[in-house]
Symmetry: D3
Subunit: 333 residues, 6 copies
């Protein structure tokens, strides 16, 4: 199997406080990098699926550090556009008990948000690709990001490679248009795999799922976008900021498949769990696993991500499979 997956979006510099410390008292930050589509690219690479990440980054030392880490994890960064002025940044105060995690974004005017639509040579990039992935964050960044993405989706559609989308609605980002639905729906029609929640589906697809079951909601979506073969959801119950349950649900061609429910008692880092799940879905589909196997794998991948600091799901295939097999959690010597 030699699919090369291409993902497109923003990667940000992430600065995190110490556990239990508020921004108001922090005098040091841990530094790493992440962004929804980059996180998917890293996961796919670590799971053995070659991946290419497309973004725009300025030419400075911290962006270089970011690129070198992506390289290190095996992601092809050779197509990243190096120009522009700033790198998006976000600050994280991890949640605990009754204090939900805080994310403070500082991403406006980043190099990718100021992309020109013609900067990315999609035909060349998608030439040897077998998968294209994007999230709803990318078109929200600017009209040109939307345009470039639309071009990518069009080309991917033409060359008939699967396209996946994670809706990832971020209200504050959609500043360049008042009608995200119009723009988002113009792209969804070419996608095969969609992941979203009720809120993002309402805001981005214009479909109100209030009171609907997942099977009904997926059916409604599918009736609008019949090319979609797989629609995925996650169910999360937050007993507290560090104690959640988490379950994955996959609608595949009319049927619903549910993973087991994971009880996660001590969350290290929630950020990136959805991306780990997304990468797990792609992994399952690329490897032509059954829908049940796919949702099981994806949910296990996301569950395990809760235990890892940073955006990236730094696990091995063996570790996910061990969790799937229900191996006893023990000290591995």
């Amino acid at each position: 199997m030699s699919a090369r997956a291409v993902t497109f979006g923003e990667i940000l510099h992430r600065l995190s406080t110490r556990h239990g410390w508020r921004f108001e008292q922090s005098t040091a930050y841990d530094s790493c990098f992440g962004g929804s589509e980059a996180n998917v690219a890293v996961s796919l690479s670590l799971l053995g699926i070659p991946s290419t990440f497309i973004t725009r980054l300025p030419d400075h030392a911290i962006a270089r550090k970011c690129i070198r880490e992506l390289n290190g994890h095996g992601v092809d960064t050779s197509k990243i556009v190096i120009s522009g002025e700033r790198m998006g940044t976000y600050y994280v105060e991890p949640g605990r008990s009754f204090l939900g995690g805080q994310v403070l974004y500082d991403r406006r005017h980043s190099a990718i948000a100021e992309l020109n639509a013609d900067m990315i040579p999609w035909t060349t990039i998608l030439n040897d690709a077998n998968w294209f992935h994007w999230s709803g964050i990318t078109p929200a960044l600017s009209r040109d990001c939307f345009k470039s993405l639309a071009e990518a989706v069009e080309i991917a559609g033409k060359i008939k490679i699967p396209i996946s989308v994670d809706l990832n609605y971020r209200q504050q980002l959609w500043s360049w248009t008042s009608s995200p639905v119009e723009y988002m729906t113009s792209l969804i029609g070419s996608c095969t795999l969609l992941k979203g929640g009720k809120n993002s589906i309402a805001k981005m697809l214009g479909i109100d799922g209030t009171g609907m079951s997942e099977i009904d909601l997926a059916g409604t979506i599918h009736s609008r976008f019949p090319q979609l073969k797989h629609i995925a959801f996650t169910r999360r119950t937050s007993h507290s900021a560090d104690y959640n349950t988490w379950q994955g649900v996959l609608w595949s061609e009319g049927k619903i498949f549910e993973s087991q429910e994971f009880e996660i008692r001590q969350i290290v880092d929630r950020i990136g769990t959805g991306d780990a799940f997304m990468a797990g879905l792609i992994y399952g589909l690329v490897h032509q696993k059954s829908s049940q196997e796919t949702i099981d794998f994806a949910t296990a991948a996301g569950a395990i991500k809760h235990s890892i600091h940073g955006d990236y799901n730094l696990v091995t295939l063996e570790e996910i499979e061990g969790l799937l097999r229900g191996e006893k959690i023990k000290l591995k010597r």
Copy 2:
């Protein structure tokens, strides 16, 4: 509303080990500051009630750091007496599972413990005050601390501002007299709001509440100190050092009001939770909230403090109100 609350007590230098490390193995400490009445002053200031903190501190760089932090949080420190030799210190090893947290006090002979009763010009200080708060730690420090406090209580009574007291019994501190009851009860008669537990009530008020319900105990106290309008208790169950339940109870003029019970599964820092609760009570009363609203607010303020490193409850009003409204605990982007 422009009440200025005045609190009087000791603030200490606090040195904390890393989570999971014993004093016997620690080679580094985190440094911050705290003390019951200072913590209340910080909370009030952050909740929008101007506050003044009265203490005595030596003239050295670490005490300056302490004062600058109080300033930073908006507490008026201009009336602090700068003289004396040492700053009280305490060391903290945070609890976890079966190891309860350890506090190692090194506060004897601190500047405030060696206060002369005439060092604090209470008439001036209380001139523009609308509230006076103290805790049972202050009179325990020395006979002169008691005397100065008694003067403050007397003046506050004369100018008819509300007085609150947190009993905060510390057995080791009461070394200057064998009869704390005599001295404490001479001060309680002027107070409006009292917070205490059964043990401190017995040791400091001489009232044995064994086997009594909170309503009966409060009634008994009230019969002795009829000026007390509000008597507050907290109920804590320690399933382990980091997993507690916590609930507030307020007796107000004959009736009992209970908050919801909070289940706190991962405690970052227990110290200062009672002070956060106390500040919440004062906040409710200053803002003439109902008794139910007051105990709900105070308990939520205390609950959320369990998630914050250090003595101070570095939360915003919005965060407490969000918890009160039962908002879902989620990642805030």
Copy 3:
């Protein structure tokens, strides 16, 4: 009581990642030291039983740091053989939720693994000893380690001091022989106290306990090794890597004694809990406590160890006894 306990085994340099960080992302490690028999020696010393630890270590600064720490905890290190080239090392990534802790050993070719059997003057060392303890790790290290251990066991048997063994089966270590059972059983016959699990009993004693209760299994072992008076087990359920239940079971001369079951909700460090338990058993027997008291004490000692970073159980006797008395877990001021 002035028993001097002697323990014999390997002590390793331990390098641990930060909580929540994978090896793949770690740029710093905490350094400490530990090894099954050294951990027992430290526990005994801290509980008031003089102890001597026997091993072989190279003459370099990090080994000196290790020895000084043992000294500091009161362990007699004067008999350690100082020669050889390397110190065994192990890396730890602590477990959390669905990621079990990872131990990465780098202990081959350590000074003790390359011991010559005649390097340790057992007659002198055991001269003033009242107890001898070893674990199944020591004979696994090399044929010479086995030989030296066999000499120690023989001498200890001759001078009639109690011998305890923790089976501690480590499959990767047994490389010098394909028949550990043969070698292990030659040593067990002199022991008084044995601790093990079903897997280690099968692999090292050749006794298959599948489906057997602890009393039956202990009975079977005892029938083979009638000198064994006490056989101890622990029961652990891992709800997640940081949430376990833990219980001790002691078979003493035909009867089973169970401790209470501890529910450990937030594990700081699992490593060394079995050694803390082992030391607790020895403590009970040395002090001629009843079997029930002994298993209660040992299990409490092991339970509390889960809250302490590093291999050593840095608790006081008072803390274990407080837990045994069921004292409320509170902030100790």
Copy 4:
């Protein structure tokens, strides 16, 4: 003496690498705050001159931390405009040997850069001021920053309080106009005290000082801006990034005054040394010290700043005066 100095400019979030670590390898940053005019305000406050800092900052937790620290150091922050989206940020890799320090700015589109000129009520703010200070960074930020500053300078001129300026030329910032000279010179005519170097004088005042002595250059400047009574320069020789010599020169009404030359062998932090020097000049003039005393004081203040991490010159008046007196550098017990 109760002068209140007002300073106006940008304060940034500063993130610094560990000494000896490049951006390309850093996984953690120390966080503090600084900016030329804020640094001056902090210095003045610590030297006993009340100060007010004017800027615009967004309403978020990290900006709050910044404001609380300024408060803590006694700076009046009550007039800061709280609105806008982002806080300027800069990253620092401290210099050492042949690697000069690196500053990576990320300050475009900050709240102050997007100021509206009418947001700051200068008449009110300057009402009780005795000094106004700005630097050439402020007008470079945007046309509106220039306009607001021009208004401040005009009002300060009208009410006849001294105005000081530090030219602080930053080429990258001047993007809104191609003729900084025109705008800068419109402001300088009202100033009393100017600090600059040859490059900034050329670029901002249009005066080419190539080959000129400081007395000649100052004379030339003065002939253009006759209101200027004091013109200050610093001389720095960088033997390496951490070994510099540093000397101050002050032209006062036609005469040159030189400080001693300091040999600084181990620089902790160069950033903010010019601001510490600037504050020292203002201190001297406010206290009507002689020109020689003023330049001596200012240079000593700047020299000592090289030893302090962060932007702020956290020294006491006594420490500067001790250095001025040539006190032996010893361990103070």
Copy 5:
């Protein structure tokens, strides 16, 4: 220019104490990776010359971290042999004043030391190479390392690509033979560029340079190994552990070229400076710079490395060239 340089040797896990802390007091270590030939590969890649690093590493998480970092810096790691048991390790206590830096090696029995000579497919690897580099450490590791290296040297010679060698004599390593001279000299005859000091030349080439000038010594070496076109030396004077002078000398086809002497006053990390110098020589020769330019460039590269934590010379070409041009060392904004 698209030369691909291949380097062959051991890469080790490096654990460093905090500056000023002895091994005997360290409880934490910074972790990075390095080894002479890997360091050269990283430098070449960062200078724009594609490089491939050949070694053998075990299949575990820390070795994966090492490989990912090499990847990140652009080094081709796809040919590394993944098998064996342990990764060589070394501990560093950085020098300061009169305490020279301490390196504590723990590299025996590493995966590469236990290499089988036939594990590395040299013909394939060197197929597209334009340069081959090794150091005297590699053949010292074991007879099989020597054999594999000899094969590489033979093939490189056949395909006529330049070969460079850094003698790097490590007495402790040469345990498999008592005659390193015999083995080393069998390899030197194919090399074009050699770097060494008098001691290593004596021990490894059997040429006693006592009292000889560099030109005479190089001449003597050249007379023995006439294929050597370039012989490089460094001159270091250690005024103290952190204050050295450093100069490079290059003998090229009969003439001596000296770089300027750098005075390095505050050394961050001496390790890897020779490798940075070596990479600079290769860079110069690959780019057909003059001998003077080459030694200037190499020495500047090595000089700047003294300021960077870790083994790798994480500089940009621009930074080396700036130092060469004698640019003022200043704060770069």
Copy 6:
């Protein structure tokens, strides 16, 4: 040689800021322990001279950590009196450039300062001693400390073991008497070896050495205290807080012996250098080295201490001897 040296004094908890950080900005401290006489005891033990340290410490976890570290370094702590309430503490901000190091003492009312003179059984303690060492800090602590010390000196005199004293004048400590000279001189008459500076000699011995050479001053002292055979001085020039020269001078029975002058360019920690020097003198005299050898050894020991964090001189004999032999300072592999 089996001399057991006994030292008597206070050991304090030391909390140090990060290099380059002021107390006013520090949120974390490194923790270690030290005190003049304890430092001497540690040095002697590490140099192979068994030592016993006598003090009084409270029974709490941080004091236990202190004792365990002393144990670890081989110091006999079995005679320490365990009672009292607090442990003396001191805070250190290390010096750099023009900021001399700051020591902030918090040692009043420590357990040893509140010693009863009869708590220490000197006859038993000195029974097997061959040396007794004290410093001028000990009698300054309290009248009872003086009394107990006087008893020790008397007994040591009777049993004719050498007594050494380091004058160590601390003005703030001498609060219990206005005439330290009277008390100090009553003890000096029994001493063999004295170390002091001009200021301490004036204040504690009443001998004004202004303008005197060391030989004359020593002669004058000797004429008063003819039992003194050795009088030692150190000469320090502070070019800056981190760049000093340092030289030792020993007057031995009428002659002056000078060590080489060490140029120390980058001081890690000045504290404890005098104690390292003192221990070096004792080492020389115990080993009956010549006066020249003794002063050379002691000065080298003190010089090397400047490079080690903390109070203790954690060096090996080999390292001091290497420095004495003038070995090149290099990276030791």
